[in-house]
Symmetry: C2
């Protein structure tokens, strides 16, 4: 048995500040949390078919017990449904439920549910509250915190969306046990990322306790997820809308990662797996630029490899297609890529590079 543990992280955004709860057995807090924010009455519960089968009932019960009248809308599972068409059906379902401006949404699911429901919350009646209840590791440490919402366009991922902060986040690590192993491990790549970009203690904790993490030990998971959320919260508070460059640090490993996902048409790698490859690539580029010590690449590859993540860019993917894919990413300004390089574990530096300069170093 592990000791029970709940951690509360505040995302300091003045009038838009909110709390992230990280712990176990937290789903029953959904209703009380919303009620404590002064919300009441009708609400929307957005989930997917797969996640809904597992967690819809306890969340719905919690909402009803707190006096809410939830209308459930289930989105189809899968990134291919993260589209305007799905958003439109969500609009239809929520408007038919008679939601008002202070009627909250609750999003129970992974990144797709959170992003699409977040976009709906950002744009229904010009903005309604949303409580995120992320059910994947990736969503718990990344997508659910920070207010990025969106859907894909046929010409690129997340090209349509808005910044819209949630009114709260409930990250229950227990639900991670129902994740497919591969998806859980892919989420660990983003956890490793937080260690690399800003928390040497977290990186060391992961290195020392990787086996326990792979066994989903509850108290360790709470500690690790909370550490990630704390860092994400600090970055978001410093640069809510990705304007000053501070938030760009979160894109560590993502320039090449997004490129790898694009050239493999989002079929070969899960997002976290592509980010793992991208982080190793970012270490290599940093080394080639003389920014970090040579030992870093091996250390990063070591922990990713032990977790079962890919830690090398396959030779067949190094080519002009990857260059082109990186160039169409959103993090482009004046044709140059804002690349997050690394100086040491916990310390990054933003550099402007042409995409070819990156690929040549891989």
């Amino acid at each position: 048995m592990t000791a029970e543990r709940v951690e509360e992280v505040t995302v300091e955004l003045g009038p838009r500040a909110y709390q992230v709860l990280v712990g176990s057995s937290l789903l029953h807090l959904t209703g009380p949390r919303l009620a404590s924010l002064g919300l009441r009455g009708r609400c929307g519960l957005v989930t997917s078919a797969r996640v809904g089968a597992l967690y819809r009932a306890p969340v719905e019960a919690s909402l009803r017990a707190a006096g809410f009248e939830p209308t459930v809308v289930e989105l189809p599972d899968g990134e291919e449904h993260k589209t305007l068409a799905t958003l439109e059906r969500l609009y239809d379902g929520l408007l038919a439920a008679g939601l008002e401006r202070r009627s909250p949404l609750v999003a129970v699911g992974g990144g797709v549910v959170g992003d699409v429901a977040g976009f709906a919350a950002a744009t229904l009646l010009r903005g309604i509250p949303i409580l995120q209840v992320p059910t994947t590791l990736l969503a718990q440490v990344d997508a659910s915190v920070g207010g990025k919402t969106g859907v894909n366009h046929r010409t690129g991922k997340n090209l349509l969306g808005a910044f819209h902060q949630p009114c709260g986040v409930i990250a229950d690590v227990d639900v991670l046990r129902s994740l497919p192993r591969r998806e859980y491990v892919a989420g660990l790549a983003e956890v490793v990322k937080y260690g690399l970009i800003g928390d040497p203690g977290l990186f060391a904790l992961i290195e020392r306790n990787l086996d326990a993490l792979l066994r989903l030990e509850s108290d360790l998971l709470v500690r690790v997820v909370a550490a990630c959320v704390r860092q994400k919260a600090a970055v978001v508070a410093a640069d809510e809308r990705e304007e000053t460059g501070a938030r760009a640090v979160l894109n560590f490993g993502h320039t090449v990662g997004h490129g790898v996902e694009a050239v493999t048409e989002y079929r070969r790698y899960l997002h976290g797996e592509a980010v793992a490859i991208g982080m190793v690539a970012a270490c290599r580029v940093s080394q080639a630029l003389g920014l970090c010590a040579p030992g870093l690449v091996a250390r990063v590859q070591g922990v990713l490899g032990r977790a079962g993540l890919p830690a090398e860019l396959p030779a067949e993917l190094r080519g002009p297609q990857l260059v082109a894919a990186m160039r169409t990413d959103k993090k482009v300004a004046g044709g140059k890529i804002r690349f997050v390089a690394i100086e040491d574990i916990g310390r990054t530096r933003l550099v402007e590079l042409a995409s070819s300069e990156i690929v040549n170093q891989l």
Copy 2:
């Protein structure tokens, strides 16, 4: 000949502050204005077929002269095209143009163009800058300032949208000369509204100079439009997202007005005409509540009638349908309508009423 006049109003929103220019012959300033904000490169020029035929050329020339590379997207004319489908086509056109996060949009048109382009700007790449160049009186004194964007849903108007402040507004009163007479006059209803809700001097100015206003005398128009914008700017600065109730004052005449538009299926009245009816209704309700002196109704009807606006709710529209229509409006909280009542010219008061309480007084 009238003297040339340019007025500049700042919408004080801290990091989102922007200037509204009101004057004549201002279209050539489009490019320089955007350049002065540090923007450059590709941009989108969004207009409608009708407005584009008249004003696209000078705006495009101004943009090119300032070094921009505009891609023009023309939306179909008419409120019936203020839909997600139109928004989607706009997304397609703008993404095909290769816009980046700092690429601005320029919206040249009336409320439909401004609202749809504004929604696109709010949600492309999670938000890009937009310069509003309103070409109707209604858009100049209302829609172009304040960051409300949106499209209609089949269950109601403007139910989908976001708050997204423009980076600037250029209101050239010369372009109002190309408006159909009826549309110009409908816009005057909103001008009268500004007098009623917060500017007795403006109301008196309109009463004294209505004939000159109906002749579109340039210097008077600049003065009147600037007075409206100044008030709108103050209200928006006090309550950017319609949260404190301060912004609700702008809805004076709109509860009944929206209801009238809905029950006549948006065919019988232009928006301003419905608002004229709604303002008289609001005066009557206020009188019935003992909030204002009896003479107010006649004085308001007088100026609206002289302008050629409808100033009475037709008997056949007073019924349960109107009650139901008002209840589905966005300004509903807990089933009660936040109704803007009037105490005297320039002074309003927010009251919570059931929709039937309103209709019974008409």
